[in-house]
């Protein structure tokens, strides 16, 4: 730029078109790489040589039956929290986007309420629901009852945990679904309407597949955060992963090693979820490749 004679192709003797092209060099990138590699090496060295990490204890518990069962419980809570949460979330999102002001207000209120209450507080409410309402019954409102149940036998601690996680998740899922739907170009709905495609089919065939592109990264975030968030239900004495390691280190005082057991399991399962996310996103990106 600065020197016109260098950047402008010469008109006279030297023919630049035959010269080889050398890409720009980035020496500072290599300095950065070296810096990060040294830090990483120090960290790994510390993990291996510092006896406080207590790897033998880690190895003994990592695949212990009690831990594997707890991992199963964590997965169970995540799966049910996600599936029920997103199913309810779609319903709430549809309500929130309804043209009817009443339905829209119902959706808005749900989201407002469940985003306002901390998950841990909500879980404790469900856990203690039988103190608030001893009996649940089906019947005519303010009229006769047909059947009634003991609340405590209807809602087990596990049921309360799934219920709490799903209700909490639904509020966030609703907003994610809504953000995906409003990101779809208005012209798509107009085209579908002009073709006379029925409303539900418009949503299922035209809007949702396109909305998925912006829903998925956020949804994956939510699933992963729910997966680790299940550790909150340890307050209800449910034997998920985090509760289980707490129980074990309460007995043997090997806190660090057991926290590492939980950490490594969380990392492994999050990695699997991230890989799954990659493939699902690739599926919904079809049509976007040239």
């Amino acid at each position: 730029m600065t020197s016109g004679t260098l950047t402008r192709a010469s008109t006279k003797d030297d023919d630049l078109s035959s010269l080889p092209v050398v890409p720009a060099r980035h020496p500072w990138r290599w300095v950065g790489v070296a810096f990060v590699l040294v830090l990483a090496a120090q960290f790994v060295h510390g993990l291996v040589t510092n006896p406080a990490w207590d790897w033998p204890t880690f190895a003994r518990y990592f695949t212990a039956q009690s831990i594997l069962t707890a991992v199963g419980t964590t997965i169970f809570l995540t799966v049910f929290g996600t599936v029920l949460g997103f199913a309810l979330g779609i319903v709430v999102a549809v309500l929130r986007m309804s043209k009817s002001p009443f339905l829209s207000a119902v959706g808005w209120t749900y989201i407002w309420a469940f985003r306002s209450i901390p998950l841990i507080v909500q879980l404790l409410f469900w856990f203690n629901i039988s103190y608030l309402y001893q009996r649940l019954s089906l019947g005519i409102p303010f009229g006769p009852e047909f059947v009634s149940f003991e609340t405590i036998s209807l809602i087990s601690p596990m049921g309360a945990a799934v219920l709490g996680l799903a209700l909490h998740q639904a509020a966030y899922a609703a907003e994610i679904v809504r953000s995906g739907v409003i990101s779809v170009d208005r012209g798509q709905l107009e085209a579908a309407a002009a073709l006379g495609i029925p409303r539900f089919r418009q949503l299922r065939r035209i809007v949702l597949p396109q909305a998925m592109r912006s829903i998925l990264p956020n949804a994956a975030n939510e699933v992963i955060s729910l997966f680790k968030g299940t550790s909150v239900v340890s307050v209800m004495a449910i034997g998920e992963l985090f509760y289980q390691v707490q129980v074990i280190y309460g007995r043997n005082a090997r806190v660090v090693a057991l926290l590492m057991v939980a950490t490594v399991w969380y990392i492994i399962l999050t990695t699997l979820l991230s890989i799954g996310q990659h493939y699902v996103e690739r599926y919904f990106a079809r049509g976007d490749r040239r």
Partner: protein, 240 residues
């Protein structure tokens, strides 16, 4: 075939259509000309009830579009009924509005049997692009797929809203060729366009709209070569 009578439409305080009446006979090709903002796109969109009207009505083959007469009033139909009526009215958008996550064939097959969908792609000369996604097609090809899709519900009339305005100049021809074919085969068409040459060649009648009113209408030679109204002359002097 299409009857538009006394249609008024406002967006807020802006009156876009101020009493438009228009009859289109079966097999007729009507080209709507007019400056931008004159209401010609809005008129087209009221015909398939993408826009509701404030006053006036539209019928196709004698059936009221979007409304039902009960007592002394016009009641708006349920959305499901309106969607059914739209199967009779093809609509081609300026920006194509193809479904990007579906292939060309799937776009058409969304509203037709697979064999029919192939037939309509053939009709616009794109049978070899059946499995391409919209992004892999040129603008002209996308618009031709959109036309195939609009034809796939076997509509009684097809409305074109500036079908070549979003295209690079060298791609306009292929889309106009398809329109020409349709016109020759007796399709009832209403085309909003700025392509005066196309209007002269294909239109049975030209309608000139300005400020929400039909200013002038007639045969192409008459409106284009001997416009009566001052505003038509002013418009034509800018675009010809």
């Amino acid at each position: 075939m299409i009857e538009v009578l006394g249609v008024h439409k406002s967006f807020g305080s802006l009156e876009v259509l101020r009493g438009v009446s228009l009859d289109v006979a079966a097999g007729e090709v009507v080209v709507v000309l007019g400056p931008s903002g004159s209401g010609k796109s809005t008129l087209l969109r009221t015909i398939n009830h993408l826009e509701k009207v404030d006053r006036g009505y539209i019928t196709i083959d004698g059936d009221l579009i979007g409304y039902q007469r009960r007592g002394g009033k016009l009641h708006e139909l349920k959305e499901r009924e309106i969607l059914k009526q739209r199967k009779d009215i093809g609509f081609v958008f300026q920006n194509f509005n193809l479904f990007p996550h579906l292939t060309a064939l799937e776009n058409v097959a969304e509203v037709a049997q697979l064999a029919d969908a192939r037939h309509f792609l053939e009709r616009v000369g794109l049978e070899d692009k059946a499995d391409a996604y919209p992004r892999q097609l040129s603008g002209g090809q996308q618009q031709r797929v959109a036309i195939a899709r609009a034809l796939a519900t076997r509509p009684k009339v097809v409305l074109f809203d500036e079908p070549t305005s979003a295209l690079d100049p060298e791609l306009v021809g292929e889309v106009l060729d398809v329109l020409r074919d349709l016109a020759r085969s007796g399709t009832t068409m209403v085309v909003v366009t700025h392509e005066i040459g196309f209007a002269r060649e294909v239109a049975d009648r030209i309608v000139f709209i300005d400020e929400g009113l039909i200013v002038e209408e007639g045969a192409p030679e008459q409106v284009l070569d001997h416009p009566v109204h001052e505003r038509t002359r002013a418009f034509l002097s800018k675009v010809l």
